[in-house]
Symmetry: C2
Subunit: 235 residues, 2 copies
């Protein structure tokens, strides 16, 4: 069996970076993971990365994330969506919506997203993530992978949409610490991308997102493994 | 753009199962994720799944996991390794080795592994995971994805190998709560697979693991998408 020589990729350095941070125990040994990010990228035709959506409830994060995942998958990308549906009910089922729990929620999502990116996947993360400090911590921990995308719609528009009826409940005092009503939303100051969902139709929003992925994460044709190795089929 | 009709896969039911469990907040809405497990499997040529390695320190978990990851990747599989190197230093850097922290460590690893499996990947999880109850909880939460693999070598053999010098430290009292010395190891009672690393050479161990993956997770040729859609290339 021919195994390509591992070559280092920019994102392989994330692994080395992580080793420098001290965990709670020092009885840990690093095993050399022989599948490098560069090899995964050649197989997939794109690098791994985190598209970190942030925005108010009702701004369109989930809708856009679902549409983008579907479009990228149809193009042959390895893509996965992290959101309240699959994270809040599993990994983070022990966390609520207090500032401290939101913070830990975002920290964990950031670490999981980084693992997915390391595995070569494009991960779309769709959480309100209202605190700048929480988002900046994810960026600082995984600078090579982090792409902040502000799904931007004015509060009035989000509240008027109120597709989930949550603003109504929040105004009636039935939900506490609701972002935009009784808890702050700190908009990104320098996001990689802004999608103004109150101004653009859905199709344009998705197209702009896909074009960004193509620019930032797709490999040029010449760098791809054009005939994917599917030797499992012959085993 | 042609998007295949989603068809439900056995593992798509995991998502529905998860919805039944109550998270801490009830203000969560499920968005339909339109990329189904069955579609991912057709693209990858295999289903997602968790190969949950368990065994004493020095039993060979990491060595086998690294070799298996490399072999499966070379065969064209989407595969990723979760271990202390990439989990303990990131997601679980806040956890130590007390029984409670070990338990939470395993819970989180199980949830992350299930996300990877849902994303279509074969995830190899290489943690001692000494407590039966912790492993059983992961199995119960994700029965469709969980494959328990006992990396089995007698304590004497592991201690004689002592490649990391940890048994020596543990016997000298320099590490507390060390599995097999000062903390229990509860061997699986009905694992899907046992790999006796003290009896078999490395090559046989890896070959048996790969054969198990082929039997349990690979799709028959006729069910695969033979010409992978890489439309990103033409965009």
């Amino acid at each position: 069996m021919l195994i390509p020589e591992p070559r280092e990729d920019a994102s392989d350095s994330a692994r080395n970076e992580r080793r420098k941070r001290a965990p709670k125990s020092d009885n840990l040994f690093s095993v050399e993971h022989r599948v490098m990010a560069a090899d995964r990228a050649r197989m997939n035709g794109h690098r791994g990365g985190i598209l970190w959506f942030t925005g108010l409830s009702g701004s369109g994060k989930s809708t856009l994330a679902v549409e983008l995942e579907r479009m990228l998958f149809a193009k042959g990308c390895q893509v996965f969506l992290l959101d309240g549906d699959n994270v809040r009910q599993g990994l983070n089922a022990d966390l609520g919506f207090s500032p401290q729990d939101r913070s830990e929620n975002i920290r964990r999502v950031g670490e999981v997203a980084a693992l997915f990116a390391e595995a070569g996947m494009i991960v779309v993360s769709a959480f309100i993530s209202p605190y700048r400090a929480d988002r900046d911590r994810v960026r600082a921990a995984h600078p090579a992978h982090f792409h902040e995308v502000h799904i931007n719609a004015p509060l009035e528009v989000c509240e008027a949409r109120d597709t989930k009826g949550l603003y109504r409940k929040a105004r009636a005092g039935k939900i506490s610490e609701f972002t935009g009503v009784s808890a702050p939303y700190e908009a990104p100051q320098a996001p990689e991308l802004v999608i103004p969902t109150a101004e653009w139709p859905l199709a344009r929003c998705v197209a702009e997102l896909a074009a960004y992925v193509e620019r930032k994460l797709a490999l040029p044709l010449c760098a791809r493994q054009l005939a994917p190795v599917r030797r499992a089929a012959e085993a």
